[in-house]
Subunit: 379 residues, 2 copies
């Protein structure tokens, strides 16, 4: 049985990238690797649309976000953090673990924060040093309008604009410099199409300046060291060499496709998949749908476990289930990274077969037709 | 030109392991991956010779050691740390960065700490909560007799015995339980023969108990979370999936060879390489030579740069130079991981050719003969 992965990280790895990573390893303090890292650093700037350094750390995306808390702030500092899902929740818990004062903006799962919520929190907390936003919340498939929020924050405060871009980078437009973002983090196993193990952290000049006054204890996640090494296209500690070689190949693919085209492709995939799902009479979960992952309500009369048993066990497709309150209630289909339009059609084909097997009533082909129509009529 | 890597991390990756890591990626919250991690956890116990958990973290070896400081101790706690090289030095700086009180035992580069030094430090600091030892100091190719030191520490104090086993595990005998070790850390790109990006941390029951009273701020490196996930053969955060699949294959190779045979092989490689080097009239750097890496004085009249230019540029062999005070004065040859006896003979062959090209006087074949004789006469 042919296996297909539709999970929001790890995402499928292009075959050429897999083989590149399987080449004999090179030493990280050698000119060959310096050449690779020089190119990676340049192409990461293109990915984030920035002239600022994008730092590469060997850790998961969570480690990448932690590096921003411990490197920019001090215990007792106030930040505002938007919690609309599992990851937003983590960016509330984590700074608290480091003794920070966290103002939480809680939004219902599936809803993006509003301008009013951000503005109210900023006015009530003029000393807030940063606002943390989740660009695409993986647990809810919900996108935040980072461009507008950044503008709002910049116009109304001196707080840094910090973005969890972990499942957004590569799927959603990100113009780090133009939008005035100060921190944006992503992970390797997402839009970058390589295995997990690397985090990438873009930092503005304001963020770099704040590192000087940070009193947080740190060593491995000290971004001052990373900024310093970055200037020499080096890393402070032994990096995950094979993954960096993979990201070099993946970034080259993104550069060749063109970042605007990559964003547009994700928007098309998400839009057509949603059309297919709706065409089958299923309901979408999010009010502000992400281009990276689409959560769908498990239809009435269908049990998630039986549904997934068919999809995974008989058809070979791995997707993600719901989390916390939405466990067994929603399923999440990812289209982040190495996917094209025919992959969406194949997925909807699998979805139809699965729904049919578990006894859900629908017109066979209606989901496929809706998907195809959406692609062919979209601008 | 055929390239050969003789560096102490990254070390060469067996071809079968490279190809295993190049297989299509699987999701980390799925039964297939749980199966892999269950096997990895079991085989890691064999590697460390322990019944205690060996935790897998996505970071470099430095991150692995950091996890022990932040998870076991509190600011103000006293530890004793042996500094006999670049890494020992790091395990003095790092706990200081976290507000700990560090008693430093400084040894000359190339010399191992003595029982007297440890005993004196323990007597002068009865409140010391741990002693940090470097099993094989990479910068100096010097081994510490961890078995004897652990016995001494156990008999004279209640301090935990913490071991940087980063370049030792797989090369030097390690019997975590039998020797009464409390913490031992290694990295993936060393004796484990896979690319960098993972750290492995073995923790005794005493170490796990100490985690409860630790007041250090932490999140990503919180080993309580890792211990809890380990019980379910899971990880707290997205792990470096492809590297864990690689380590699964590498651990299987170690299991098949037998850990005692792996240790013995490294001892033989190191011993014969030293014989070859001495046979050429070169001088060894360390008084207590490691089985993982052999540092050699650059001979009088030879310039390191010219020497390395021939070895790397004309012969294709990458080794490591000296660091700090020993920059340009020593070179370091690694035989850690995926090496056999013919690799050592090939290396000495390359060394003879390089020395000949840079004008060093010796009898051609004397190094090779000494290496071969050492292998054939060793028990």
């Amino acid at each position: 049985m042919k296996k297909r992965l539709f999970t929001p990280g790890p995402t499928p790895i292009p075959e050429t990238v897999m083989l590149k990573m399987a080449e004999p390893i090179i030493h990280h303090r050698n000119p060959e690797f310096n050449e690779v890292l020089t190119r990676v650093n340049k192409n990461l700037k293109y990915l984030f649309q920035t002239e600022q350094p994008v730092l590469t750390l060997t850790c998961s995306g969570t480690g990448g976000v932690e590096s921003t808390f411990v490197s920019l702030f001090s215990p007792g500092d106030t930040i505002i953090s938007v919690n609309g899902g599992k990851f937003g929740e983590r960016w509330v818990k984590m700074p608290k673990a480091f003794g920070m004062n966290v103002v939480e903006i809680k939004t219902q799962w599936g809803k993006a924060p509003t301008a009013d919520q951000i503005l109210t929190a900023l006015k009530a907390n003029p000393a807030a040093k940063a606002v943390y936003l989740v660009h695409s919340e993986t647990s809810t498939g919900t996108a935040t309008d980072v461009k507008s929020m950044a503008k709002l924050i910049r116009e109304n405060s001196s707080a840094l604009v910090c973005v969890d871009g972990i499942t957004a980078i590569g799927a959603h437009e990100m113009r780090f410099d133009e939008w005035g973002i100060d921190v944006c983090v992503t992970g390797s196993q997402k839009g970058l199409m390589i295995p997990p193990g690397l985090a990438f952290v873009a930092v503005s000049q304001r963020a770099v300046a704040m590192m000087e006054s940070s009193k947080m204890p740190k060593f491995y996640f000290d971004l001052r060291k990373a900024v310093k090494s970055h200037a020499d296209n080096d890393t402070p500690f032994t990096p995950a060499v094979s993954l960096i070689i993979g990201v070099d190949a993946a970034l080259e693919m993104i550069r060749v496709e063109g970042i605007e085209n990559v964003w547009k492709r994700h928007e098309r995939l998400a839009t057509a998949l949603r059309a297919g799902v709706v065409g089958l009479g299923l309901k979408l979960f999010s009010d502000s749908p992400s281009f990276a992952v689409t959560p769908v309500w498990v239809p009435d009369g269908v049990a998630w476990k039986a549904f997934n048993k068919v999809l995974k066990g008989e058809i070979g497709i791995t997707i993600a289930g719901g989390q916390d309150d939405y466990k067994d209630k929603i399923f999440r289909v990812s289209h982040l990274g190495y996917y094209d339009e025919l992959d969406m059609i194949a997925f909807v084909g699998a979805l139809e077969r699965t729904l049919s097997t578990v006894g859900y009533k629908f017109t066979v082909g209606s989901g496929l037709a809706a998907t195809q129509n959406a692609f062919l009529t979209m601008k």
